[in-house]
């Protein structure tokens, strides 16, 4: 496939996502307004009277009819404006730009850890079905997925920070003794390294470790199970039997033929797990004071902060579209039989 046509396909795919995104915009707009609760009354503060509530409602533009509010929202969106969050007092776009990298860094790192453990574990379990290693794998997976993340998080804090004192204080992305590195990628570890500041990078990595392990334990299960199942299926297929019969070495059979064929569903799972984890690690964020987008969205929802909720949902939708595209492209790289526009 020529590079040009691939680019064209990507553009076409992104174009196809537009109606879906518009749908997301409409649905979030309507849903946030349909929620009970009056943001004007909430933000007017505890001692406000009717008049001051009305003033706030007017200032927020909430006194206008819904369709008009929607048009204003669309107009702002078209100009790249996501509006201002009233609960945090910051423009939503700024906030997302600041918080999304925190969530991404944590999720990426956690998934990296998770894959590093889960994939070999799944392969081992598949090559030794019913053996002790298979049972151990099953045990770890069950334990990981059944322990709630906030519990695992608190337990890790308790042991490694409180009792042993090995981990740094669970105070977010960086201890207060350090300043955040200049933003390039938004990932503290990478930015600090780029800035030639290994100390800060190391400190950021230290802060990252416990929350990442917490998340990794949780995401281990689907990846390991999927690896095992798909490996089992591939290993029992005819071409593997043929390869074995042809006298290829065990490693070649496993690595080149079996694993490469088994990895497709694992990647699909990875994509699902990634998008799920990104928004859903609120509890981990709370325990480790991690300034991610999960807790941002939940807090915004609790106080009916429309702009923030809409901005969050929209950015997650965009992220999801991009992620799916990346996964599809990965497919074509791994398995040349698959084509993007098929």
């Amino acid at each position: 496939m020529a590079a040009g046509s691939r680019l064209g396909t990507i553009a076409r795919r992104l174009g196809q996502a537009l109606p879906a995104l518009f749908g997301v915009i409409v649905v979030t707009f309507v849903l946030t307004r349909a929620l009970p609760g009056d943001p004007a009354a909430y933000f007017a503060g505890p001692a406000a009277d009717e008049k001051s509530i009305a003033q706030i409602r007017e200032a927020l533009g909430l006194d206008r009819p819904l369709p008009e509010q929607f048009l204003y929202y669309l107009k702002d969106l078209a100009q790249g404006e996501l509006g201002s969050s009233i609960s945090t007092g910051q423009p939503v776009a700024d906030e997302l730009i600041r918080r999304l990298p925190a969530s991404l860094e944590l999720t990426f790192f956690a998934l990296l850890l998770s894959v590093a453990v889960a994939v070999p574990m799944g392969v081992l379990a598949a090559t030794h079905p019913g053996k002790p290693i298979d049972h151990i794998c099953r045990f770890i997976v069950t334990a990981g997925v059944s322990l709630p993340t906030f519990f695992t998080g608190l337990a890790l804090v308790f042991v490694f920070y409180y009792l042993l004192g090995w981990a740094p204080s669970p105070l977010g992305r960086l201890d207060f003794a350090y300043l955040a590195p200049p933003t390039i990628t938004g990932f503290y570890v990478i930015d600090a390294l780029l800035a030639g500041d290994p100390e800060t990078a190391w400190a950021a990595l230290g802060q990252l470790t416990l929350p990442a392990i917490t998340l990794a334990l949780f995401t281990l299960a689907p990846i390991a199970r999927m690896t095992r199942a798909s490996m089992l299926q591939v290993l029992s297929s005819e071409f593997i039997r043929t390869a074995r019969a042809a006298g290829l070495s065990g490693g070649t059979v496993l690595g080149t033929y079996a694993f490469r064929n088994a990895v497709l569903p694992v990647i699909t799972t990875l994509g699902m797990v990634f998008s799920f984890t990104l928004g859903a690690n609120v509890l981990v964020e709370k325990v480790f004071a991690w300034p991610g987008i999960g807790s941002y969205a939940v807090e915004a929802l609790v106080v009916s902060d429309y702009a923030a909720v809409q901005g969050f949902v929209l950015s997650m939708a965009v992220l999801f579209v991009v992620l799916n595209l990346i996964i599809d492209i990965l497919y074509t790289l791994i398995d040349p039989r698959i084509q993007l526009d098929s």
Partner: protein, 540 residues
């Protein structure tokens, strides 16, 4: 490298242990000398109290970075901790003030040496601009100003550079204390005006992100959602300079994490800890816990008079006798607070507020009272609690439910999300039976009654309406406490509140904070936010 020196410079050597993230070290100890580290559970959302939507934790900026005309004094509590003293009003930016002979104006003389953090002098024009702003921007600040009869800009006059006059709408004992609350903080109007625009004449955008005050600290850094760093303002003139150079306020949402941090000694202060943690942390050697009863605040059970059975006073009294107070206090408050039941007499001996109401757990009496009404066999009623305050409301509600069931009143507990609570409980006032936690900033019983017992007023979620109470509150509200007519009026108010019980107090809550042994100068304030102005560190 030099960016990081911001915080590290002073303690570079002490910090070398920090290089390895997995090495045992204590951050608060490693933090450079003169830095205090505070953790809070909530998030700060603005540096400007006057802005619409600014949340309560952000009020601390007004306290720490700005001054007011006057301030409250400080007193020692029985346990040795510090508390503000509402009975003493002392100079802040104003060195003196007096009522004009006609009693219609208050004239303030500003201190000559008072300067803003940029070095420019504090003038009466700054004071006027700031108070104008507080009454003009609307929302909560304007309402709070109104409580002190400070309602419109025409009342504020800059006579000359150092003389400022407030023309009073009516003489009121609330005016002066209301100038000492966080709302009327004095802004450097020269700086602010530079950033004002036609659409934004009060520079709300600029002051939302920057401070321009004369207070004890400046904001050195604000990472919304993460931390705020105060830096001492060495030009502060309204009090002795704080003993620490820098205060770092970190937002840590999880209570368990905050507790681990303070127990490990990695932070100096955990501000606002739960009653449970306060009780348990008090037993630790390396942590001191200060619990101060919150003045003028009561946790109440409110029977709503809009619900028919509660219109009968005897039914309300029966409810008040069917509450298991003791157990609630133990289970929901972990014994932290002041009991508000078991008062000796149906008529108050003094006007101390709050004081215990003459009710206790007595199911027989409750049944007898109920038997005198047309609800002999009891009735059913939904019982609502605020989910954001579930930590005390939920256990309290369950125990009350049990108690009421014993006299035949069946309740079903409804949990209402925090965002909807306000409109349902306070604005629409439609919850038949609910728990409520109002506390007034200005520490006078009549002020509490004004908000919580008058028809239509916000915190009167019981829809209580008694013409005598309305009349008494109207008369007492602006009257000086020293006025001989004041005490009889308050006594009568309390008597009515005891007898009519539209609000059944459970206990007076405390504000708890846990701190390391080296931190000094923690002080309780009615606004229940961090006041770092007297902070110091022993041995630093």
């Amino acid at each position: 490298m030099d960016r990081r020196n911001f915080i590290k410079a002073a303690g570079a050597t002490a910090l070398s242990a920090n290089v390895l993230p997995f090495l045992k070290f204590s951050t608060a100890e490693a933090a450079p000398a003169g830095t205090a580290v505070v953790v809070i559970g909530q998030t700060l959302n603005s540096l400007d109290l006057h802005r619409k939507g600014t949340n309560r934790p952000s009020y601390q900026i007004s306290v720490n970075c700005y001054d007011r005309l006057v301030s409250f004094g400080t007193k020692k509590m029985p346990d040795g901790s510090l508390s503000y003293d509402y009975s003493v009003i002392q100079p802040d930016l104003a060195e003196s003030w007096e009522l004009t002979p006609d009693g219609k104006s208050l004239v303030f003389k500003l201190r000559k040496d008072a300067v803003f953090s940029d070095g420019s002098p504090v003038t009466a024009a700054d004071v006027k601009w700031s108070l104008d702003r507080a009454v003009s921007l609307g929302g909560f600040p304007t309402v709070q100003m109104k409580a002190g009869s400070l309602e419109k800009p025409e009342q504020f006059v800059a006579v000359d550079d150092k003389t400022f006059r407030i023309d009073l709408l009516r003489p009121s004992k609330l005016t002066l204390p209301d100038l000492a609350v966080p709302v009327p903080f004095i802004i450097n109007s020269k700086v602010a005006k530079k950033h004002a625009t036609k659409d934004d004449p009060w520079a709300t955008e600029y002051l939302h992100r920057n401070t321009a005050g004369s207070g004890a600290y400046k904001v050195a850094r604000w990472d919304p959602g993460q931390q705020l760093v105060y830096e001492r303002n060495d030009k502060w003139t309204s009090g002795p300079l704080p003993g620490v150079k820098r205060v770092i306020v970190r937002e840590v949402p999880s209570g368990a994490t905050r507790r681990a941090l303070i127990e490990r000694g990695d932070v100096d202060l955990s501000f606002g800890v739960s009653d449970k943690d306060a009780k348990e942390l008090a037993a630790k050697d390396n942590v001191s816990v200060v619990g101060t009863p919150i003045e003028n605040c009561l946790y109440c059970l409110c029977p709503n008079l809009a619900f028919e059975p509660f219109q009968d006073k005897k039914v309300r009294q029966a409810v008040a006798f069917a509450v298991p107070y003791e157990e609630i206090f133990k289970v929901a408050a972990y014994g932290q607070g002041v009991p508000m039941w078991g008062g000796k007499s149906a008529s108050p001996a003094d006007i101390v507020w709050p004081q215990p109401f003459p009710y206790m757990t007595d199911y027989e009496k409750a049944k007898a009272l109920l038997a005198e009404t047309k609800y002999k066999t009891g009735f059913e009623v939904p019982f609502s609690i605020n989910l954001s305050l579930a930590s005390w409301m939920e256990p309290a509600a369950l125990l009350i439910q049990e108690g009421l069931a014993k006299v035949g009143i069946k309740t079903t507990i409804e949990k209402i999300p925090g965002a909807n609570w306000r409109s349902q409980a306070l604005v629409e006032k439609k919850l038949p039976l609910h728990l409520e936690n109002f506390g007034g900033w200005l520490n006078y019983p009549d002020y509490y009654f004004f908000w919580a017992y008058l028809k239509g007023h916000l915190f009167n979620s019981s829809n209580y309406d008694n013409p005598e109470v309305t009349k008494l509150v109207g008369e007492a509200l602006h009257m000086e406490v020293s006025d001989p007519a004041y005490e009889p009026k308050i006594k009568r108010l309390l008597e009515i509140a005891f007898d009519d019980v539209p609000r059944i107090p459970l206990w007076q809550p405390t504000l708890n904070s846990a701190m390391g042994k080296s931190l000094t100068g923690y002080e309780y304030w009615f606004h229940r936010q961090l006041d770092a102005r007297k902070f110091g560190k022993a041995g630093a």
